[in-house]
């Protein structure tokens, strides 16, 4: 019983960085912009968050600064793809390379250092519920923030005017444009918010999941988040389920490694999340809804230009 509780709680914790990044990418893609730079943005979030926490000794401020850094880096992607209408795939790859490189460069002096981290807060009453309490309500504050963020994102996308505009821009930019919505501004907004949330996911790694900086510590989570966006059919609540499932696999893998009870090489265990992603993609592809990409914004990846729309 206790083991199950621990594993599930660990699934939530290791799913949280995925959740932040997936939510961010859902917002970005809903506006029609594909940002494949998540891996780089997570690393940017992780290193800037870590440096800020180390220097300022304040994790909250550090977390916010990490998001600002993510927003600024995603601004490059926004400029290149929205204003210059360049290829979104290539720009995303460039962002990943840049993020990986820059985080490695500026993080070099911080390897082996320890910064303050978010501490665990048991939520009063809620954490006392059997099983559920331990699993869901006995975490650091960022996990609770991510719960709220799922609800907020969903409400924002489907119930508010701005969210409706954003979806319209991702579906039919020409229609949105002639309805008087600023397509460019909306896409900039979505890309920057998405970048900030992705960086938040990275900052979770260095400020809550651990309290240190390790080069390339995102270890492919950014790419997994891109797959999660597809699995979740661009819906925040489904993203939550997907993130925790993959978080669970990562947690399980770490646990098996740590216990050493099973005689499998750690290198083979480490393949697990990536292998699972592949297998889930394949299995999902036999589902008609998934194959037809239900929920995918129709204008995803297509640059918009008014003069050329004829």
């Amino acid at each position: 019983m206790e083991t199950l509780e621990n594993i599930l709680a660990a699934a939530i914790r290791s799913g949280t960085p995925l959740l932040f990044a997936t939510l961010g990418e859902i917002i970005t893609e809903r506006s029609g912009i594909l940002n494949l730079g998540l891996e780089g943005l997570m690393l940017i979030g992780a290193i800037f968050g870590f440096i800020a926490a180390y220097t300022l000794q304040n994790v909250y401020l550090a977390f916010i600064l990490a998001m600002v850094a993510g927003a600024l880096f995603s601004l490059i992607h926004a400029f290149v793809t929205i204003s210059l209408r360049a290829n979104q795939t290539v720009s995303g790859l460039a962002l990943t390379m840049l993020g990986t490189g820059v985080s490695g460069m500026i993080g070099r002096n911080y390897i082996g250092q320890v910064a303050p981290k978010f501490s665990k807060i048991d939520l009063p009453l809620l954490s006392k519920i059997p099983l559920i309490g331990k699993v869901f309500f006995s975490h650091d504050v960022l996990v609770y923030v991510s719960y709220i963020l799922v609800a907020v994102t969903s409400y924002f996308l489907f119930k508010t005017r701005l969210g409706m505009n954003l979806r319209a821009v991702g579906e039919e930019p020409a229609a949105a444009d002639s309805a008087g919505i600023n397509v460019f501004l909306t896409r900039y907004f979505a890309t920057i918010i998405g970048g900030a949330l992705t960086a938040a996911g990275g900052a979770y790694l260095s400020l809550a999941y651990t309290s240190m900086w390790i080069e390339n510590m995102s270890a492919g989570r950014g790419w997994i988040a891109i797959a999660l966006v597809i699995f979740s059919m661009w819906e925040p609540y489904k993203a939550m389920i997907g993130s925790y499932l993959f978080g669970g696999i990562m947690a399980l893998q770490l646990r098996l490694q740590a216990e050493g009870k099973i005689n499998i090489s750690s290198n083979l265990l480490m393949m697990l999340p990536y292998l699972t992603t592949l297998i889930v993609m394949i299995v999902f592809s036999f589902n008609e809804k998934f194959r037809k990409r239900v929920g995918a914004p129709s204008a995803l990846g297509i640059p918009y230009s008014r003069e050329e729309k004829t």
């Binding site: 119930k159 508010t160 005017r161 701005l162 409706m164 505009n165 979806r167 319209a168 579906e171 039919e172 020409a174 229609a175 949105a176 444009d177 002639s178 309805a179 008087g180 919505i181 600023n182 129709s298 008014r306 003069e307």
Partner: protein
């Protein structure tokens, strides 16, 4: 008392390449009138309206609304100034509901949270007032083409626009649907709105307008009042010469049966049946025109015969050979040519050169390319079809619509086809280019090819065809002779009314 609702003064607009799209254009509109902009394709009508609606920026000139100079920089500011536009290509989000589409971008329905209840009520009122019968909660992708247009109109009315632009609204309607649109326009006029109506169809212009201004090559030719409207006069002003096409059409002399379609069933992109048990035959030396409102299965019919779309049921026979669901390659070999409706999206590769585009569809593929021969051939074709391009190596995207279409036609005709499927061959072309296309089709027919012509425009079908079939919801409703007197009959069949033989 303000005399003019809208005044456009000395509007000038240049497009890249120094093309003068609009040259010192003046235009005005009174409340409660329909002022038509008449001109052929490329005359600058849509460009002028896109400027008024804030989609394009003009280089020179000013816009006055109710006597005050305004600066319209975007559709949003146009809407604030009371300008609404029912666009030629619908600007609706398919996955949204009617109500969501209507309030899209409007600020007065709540800045933050969306509350659709009042919106739905108001849409119902407007829909009833103008006899439109639209359910505000329906999703737009479920609607027919004419219903989508009604949503566009409701959107403009909901915005309480004072100036309403209709950009070629009847292109997608049956004659009967057009008439009910005109009635709605009359009502809007009587409610004090100013209507700008854009068209190149003379009959409907005379039916609906209070004043007509003719635009040609970006310049105003003249303005006529309701009392002076005359079809011939307008045609002369619009084209600059007598409107009659110079077409050498002789009576058809049909030979052997080329194409036989039996009980064809085909699905559209949304997996819904689009062609439902359709049968037809075409013989050598015959043009069969298909008339119908866009979206009644024409595209799916054409694509299934060309081999681009799966046939669910039924048979397609070519000289009695079953070619149902065979590959495009095989059909190319047999001599089936296809001119799709969207030359930019399907028929050409924008970044490839004119020469390469002349070469993408080949009867017999060679493994190793012979570039020299390819270039030599292209030069020949460019001359033969008088294609205007800098040279054969120019990317095709830099060519004008008419020349692009000539490239497509040249390529397909050079296959020496026995069957040619043509969809909307003259969309966006000027009169000279249209004439060229029609004559090329008739020449091919005279040389023994069987031609299936799918056009949106009744005039086109009547000009070129030897027989006319009317399509409605994926079935043939009946056949008529291509005579002008049959228009009403055709219109009824286009709307799905079966006629006694």
């Amino acid at each position: 008392m303000i005399l003019y609702l809208l005044e456009l003064k000395n509007i000038t607009k240049r497009f890249p390449g120094n093309l003068l799209a609009l040259d010192n254009v003046n235009f005005n509109l009174k409340p409660g009138e329909v002022h038509t902009l008449l001109g052929e394709n490329g005359a600058g009508k849509t460009t002028l309206m896109n400027i008024l609606f804030g989609l394009y920026k003009h280089d020179k000139g000013e816009i006055l609304i109710e006597g005050k100079k305004v600066n319209i920089t975007s559709p949003a500011s146009a809407i604030t100034h009371g300008v609404g536009m029912v666009q030629q290509h619908f600007t609706l989000v398919p996955s949204f509901s009617v109500a969501e589409n209507i309030i899209l971008g409007l600020k007065k329905t709540g800045r933050f949270k969306i509350d659709l209840r009042n919106v739905v009520k108001r849409i119902k009122e407007l829909s009833d007032l103008y006899n439109m019968n639209i359910d505000p909660n329906a999703k737009v992708w479920q609607l027919s083409v004419s219903e989508k247009q009604k949503v566009e109109i409701l959107k403009v009315l909901y915005e309480e626009a004072k100036i309403i632009i209709f950009d070629e609204p009847t292109a997608v309607l049956t004659p009967q649907e057009s008439e009910s649109l005109f009635q709605a326009i009359d009502m809007m006029k009587n409610n004090g709105k100013g209507i700008i109506f854009i068209s190149h169809k003379l009959k409907e212009v005379i039916r609906v307008s209070d004043r007509v201004t003719v635009l040609k090559n970006g310049r105003i030719v003249g303005t006529l009042d309701k009392g002076n409207l005359d079809e011939n006069e307008l045609a002369k002003m619009m084209v600059g010469r007598d409107f009659l096409f110079n077409i050498k059409k002789t009576p058809a002399n049909p030979g052997k049966e080329v194409l036989k379609v039996e009980n064809l069933v085909v699905k559209n992109d949304k997996d819904i049946l689009a062609v439902k048990g359709l049968s037809l035959t075409i013989r050598e030396g015959e043009i069969l025109g298909i008339a119908g409102v866009t979206g009644n299965g024409q595209r799916e019919l054409a694509e299934s015969i060309a081999g681009l779309r799966k046939v669910e049921n039924g048979k397609i026979k070519f000289y009695n050979l079953d070619i149902t669901n065979t590959s495009v390659k095989r059909r190319l070999k047999l001599g089936i040519a296809y001119v799709p409706q969207d030359r930019k999206e399907t028929a050409t590769c924008p970044n490839l050169s004119v020469a390469e585009n002349l070469f993408i569809r080949q009867k017999n593929k060679v493994r190793i390319l012979n570039k020299k021969e390819m270039l030599r051939n292209s030069k020949k074709l460019i001359k033969k079809y008088s294609i205007i391009a800098n040279n054969e190596k120019q990317p095709i995207k830099f060519l004008s619509g008419g020349n692009m279409q000539k490239v497509v036609l040249a390529r397909e005709f050079e296959l020496s086809p026995k069957l040619i499927i043509v969809e909307h061959p003259t969309r966006g072309l000027d009169v000279q280019a249209m004439e060229f296309v029609y004559n090329s089709l008739i020449d091919a027919r005279n040389n023994g090819a069987a031609i299936l012509l799918l056009a949106g425009d009744l005039d086109e079908v009547f000009t070129v065809s030897d027989r006319v079939a009317i399509i409605f919801e994926g079935r043939i409703m009946g056949y008529v002779e291509p005579e002008q007197s049959k228009v009403d009959e055709v219109g009824l069949m286009m709307a799905g009314v079966a006629l006694e033989a």
